[in-house]
């Protein structure tokens, strides 16, 4: 059980575990402190207030009361446990640890002699176990139990929870293994959890079971619906489809299996889905799943803003899928999407005070969409929490050649090659200074640095050692698009300085996104921006057209420490000709007035006075500028 297996044939990179990484930055470190001090205690309180904890106590035989809430509510507690575990790897927390230990004890006590554990299917419902795999989320809950137990074991070294997970996994492998029932779950999750369990235990049965669940999918065992990704075998799927979170959890499992097996058909299927999703089905926020109906991926270029579903959980899943793809071969495009989804699609789901969450994340709002402290279906809050708790583990990898830096967070990482320090004010500024504080082995080691896709390479500055300026476009340096490879025998104290210019920029969407014709969005570095009514009094943000002119940086009231943007534009209010009309004959636009729009990071929206928010702005015609001048 102490074997920590690493992927064998399919993967070129190995994650640097979160225990080897410290954050010392001004962006993520305070957010993770908030997570620890505010969000996770509040989430536990919600789990208690809504009976989620009591359901487990009841299953343990400690309480005699009815089950409360939905049949999948155990999973929220498990995701919360996973978050607590990852944070414990950073520093112990007595309060959270007591809460967690109590839950783990209840789960252990609730476990049946055969290994089964699920607080819903107990007592009067014990006979219903494994009867409705399409809808009842038992394997989904089991997967989150296993993921939480693996995290707990990896973070704390204690195996009490892991032993529960192993007994449960053994029960599942027994029931659904080759000698058992041919079945797949309605909500994917168990597959990737079994791979994770395999990686800490070395028990190949779990890997084989994960493979079996993947291989049996798409054959109608849960009804053959697109919603469940059961309409086609995985290797034949042309695009992500159906319920977005489920689809990406399936992709995560497939990438995990690919890492273990190197199976070309899995690689081809994942690549196909990746290109399809990132070029046709993803919001500029990195959010995915355009449709509220079925919480599902939309069709090609179907990316409405006001009704964007873009579930927080789907953005979390996007990050976790990208991470797995990134490990396969280190291609920077995966890290680009990971960063895009993390800083925008995921982070928007969490309020700045740590107490509110979005379930869906529209890219335009009339101001009535506000974060909530909890949901009846509360998947998103603990999902976001477990991702941010594990974030130090998503920044670095190693390969035989050296150390890969994917996400730029100020702090230190300790690796077999030595300890590297990164100083930066990223994502607010693009200046990065890397210092090899120690060098662990002689000889040449490559430092792989990501050149983000949002960055204009010709303006990047790279200085190595005592002042040697390197051209990032040099193919010997940029070994693959977006990956700078600095190979040398590093000396302790040696520095690399990388300056990524971060001018505010206007972004357009593919012309076939017909709902975004003539519209631009604002970005700076990895951050997507939006405009809120609170910063633009007296103006309806829908009436503002931006000019293709440089924007300035400003401080914004109520968002301390953040970089706001001041963007030149034109405001044209609908005139009397629109009174009582929705359509009318096309006519030349009326002249507008000059206006400077204030924009703020999208992730920070809806934290102040409610009001209209918009991400995509009309691009002013040249004519509009002339008239306004």
């Amino acid at each position: 059980m102490s074997v920590e297996r690493q992927p064998l044939t399919g993967s070129q990179l190995r994650p640097v575990p979160l225990t080897a990484v410290t954050f010392e930055d001004a962006f993520w470190r305070p957010r993770r402190a908030l997570l620890r001090a505010v969000s996770l205690p509040a989430q536990y309180a919600q789990c208690e207030a809504t009976g989620r904890v009591q359901n487990l106590h009841r299953a343990a035989g400690w309480l005699d009361q009815p089950f409360q809430g939905r049949y999948y509510n155990d999973s929220d507690v498990y995701k919360w446990l996973e978050a607590v575990a990852w944070l414990a790897a950073e520093a112990p927390d007595v309060t959270l640890a007591q809460m967690a230990d109590g839950v783990i004890a209840a789960v252990a006590a609730a476990q049946q002699p055969d290994g089964y554990v699920n607080s819903y299917f107990m007592f009067e419902r014990a006979g219903e176990r494994w009867q409705d795999l399409a809808n009842k989320h038992e394997l989904y809950c089991a997967g989150h139990l296993i993921e939480a137990a693996v995290a707990h074991y990896r973070a704390t070294g204690r195996d009490n929870f892991l032993r529960v997970a192993i007994r449960l996994a053994d029960h599942i492998c027994d029931r659904f293994g080759p000698a058992g029932q041919a079945a797949v779950p309605g909500h994917e999750e168990i597959e990737l959890a079994l791979v994770a369990l395999y990686r800490v235990t070395g028990n190949g049965t779990y890997l084989a079971q994960a493979q079996r669940f993947l291989d049996l999918r798409g054959r109608g065992l849960v009804g053959g619906r697109v919603y469940h990704q059961d309409h086609l075998p995985f290797r034949e799927l042309p695009a992500p489809a159906g319920h977005a979170v489920r689809a990406l959890y399936l992709n995560m499992a497939a990438a995990d299996l690919l890492a273990e097996t190197g199976e070309p058909a899995l690689r081809a299927a994942l690549e196909r889905q990746w290109w399809q999703m990132t070029t046709r089905q993803m919001y500029l926020s990195g959010g995915v799943g355009a449709r509220a109906g079925g919480e599902a991926f939309g069709g090609d270029y179907e990316l409405p803003n006001g009704t964007a579903y873009a579930e927080t959980c789907a953005a979390v899943a996007n990050v976790l899928w990208q991470w797995r793809m990134l490990q396969l071969d280190g291609a920077a495009r995966y890290a680009d999407v990971l960063e895009q989804a993390l800083y925008n699609g995921v982070l928007a789901g969490w309020s700045l005070d740590g107490l509110g969450y979005f379930y869906d994340n529209p890219l335009a709002s009339d101001g009535r969409h506000r974060r909530q402290p909890w949901f009846e279906c509360a998947c998103c809050p603990p999902n976001l929490a477990r991702l941010l708790a594990a974030l130090p583990g998503y920044c670095y990898s190693t390969s035989a050649e050296g150390l890969w830096v994917h996400l730029y967070v100020a702090g230190r990482v300790t690796t077999p090659f030595g300890r590297l320090r990164l100083e930066t004010n990223y994502p607010w500024a693009g200046e990065l200074t890397f210092t090899w504080e120690t060098v662990a082995r002689p000889g040449r080691v490559t430092l792989f640095l990501r050149l983000p896709a949002w960055c204009a390479a010709e303006d990047v500055e790279l200085v190595v050692g005592d002042g040697q300026r390197l051209a990032v476009a040099d193919p010997a340096l940029q070994v693959r698009p977006g990956t700078l490879a600095l190979r040398r025998a590093w000396q302790p104290g040696e520095q690399v300085r990388l300056a990524l210019p971060m001018p505010p920029r206007l972004v357009v969407a593919h012309p076939h996104v017909t709902s975004l014709t003539g519209r631009v969005a604002l970005m700076r570095g990895p951050l997507l921006y939006c405009a809120e009514a609170v910063d633009n009094p007296g103006v309806d943000v829908r009436d503002v057209a931006l000019r293709a002119a440089p924007a300035g940086m400003v401080a914004v009231a109520g968002l301390p420490g953040m970089v706001g943007l001041r963007v030149p534009g034109v405001v044209t209010r609908p005139g009397a000709e629109w009174q009582g009309a929705l359509y009318r004959a096309a006519a030349p636009a009326r002249p507008g007035e000059r206006y400077h729009l204030t924009a703020v990071p999208y992730f920070a929206w809806a934290n102040r006075d409610p009001g209209r928010m918009q991400v995509w702005f009309r691009l002013a015609d040249r004519g509009d500028w002339d008239k306004a001048d």
Copy 2:
């Protein structure tokens, strides 16, 4: 029972019944012949093939077999009966009459001693009657039975079906009247049906029961959901909301009640909803209900094209609601919307061969959306059929002052003022010649002609009598916006010639429809146009930008008798810069190539080779034209 009551206090117009109208035109007459010869027999065959007819035979005790299909399937048969009845008013049809008589006999035989009739809640389900008003559509089915029976009585003069309806209505009034259960139906329909029954029977109990159902709504009796319009009392509703068909059926009933009672609060509520819907929630096709989820109205300016739900039934309901509003005071804006929804939103739901139907009507498609011969939930086909069957009754009204012409269909109408003939090739041409073939009474009579809102009034020509040219802008003539009032002592043979210019025109949407920024649609007269791949080979219609320049009229292969449009534009295919990209930095557009787009009436789309269809086109920048020139 022979009393035909007309609305009393709330309505200024009275419909000219369809029995007084003959269509002699090249547009609707052949379509109604197709309805009679092809669509209605095929619909009956579908009702037999899917067990809908047999359900009624079973309920009559003629068959011993299980109920088939959905619990509301009777309603489809009733709507089919209504269509057959209205067509019978035009001319008898032995085949259809035999089918109808068989169904009516079954319904009569199935009726219970207490008047109840519904083929689902029979035998083993008899105990479930009236137990789930929110979901089980019993009152909805009853309403369609009553509407069909009223149509049958009005069209044929026979009362055998009406007597069934009366017994059913009496049962409903007994059960849900003031001494009975306080309840409302989950799907509105019974309310307007009871008013219709009141109007042919004079029995005020039915009117009172309709009023009671309206008044009790919005008080949580079916759960208080927006979906059911049960979240607010009707008089407080700020906007149409929830399930679009239900919402508009409720509005139809409210308009009917307003016509009877003149209640100011009902008028205010209806006017509020009308302005809200037509200025924020209606497609250019006249379709409504943007969202597939809940088949519901969307929010303000939420009008996506590719995912537009715009159920055919909702467009039918829009026509029927507008007709009722129009009767209240004759305001032309209601007739404008009626015409818009009829020629576009409704008609698109029906294939040119009479055998296929759309349930939802998107305004953009990748070509995979095709009409179907029937649906498991088959509300739309017979709903469209009953509207088109009754269409002659939606063209004319009378008031104390004279005759109102709302829809321009070549043919004759016989009224208390005399017989009027209309010659025109509308909607393909705007020249209208009215001739008083007979004049029934001496003295001055007003001929009210609608000046459509799509028409540029300054270019309209109006010639009366032997050549007197009138200025339509004259307030003495255009008594209200869109209504020309020609008051004189007409002589037999006297003519009025009205020429409504129909140049193809580009239409834009309100700037707050942010998904339509920079986009234009094509219209000509009342018809919305679209472009299909079949007429534009080698071009992706998404890549075409239209120029603000005159379009020409062309014949289109496969659409005989229709006016197609040839529209100057520019085609700009996404270049290599979009390879593998969904978003990129804004940059000046590449030059396009001149292209002439072929557009066809929207109602005729998807009748030829499948392919991409689009309604809203990018408007070419001036710069695009220069580059392409």
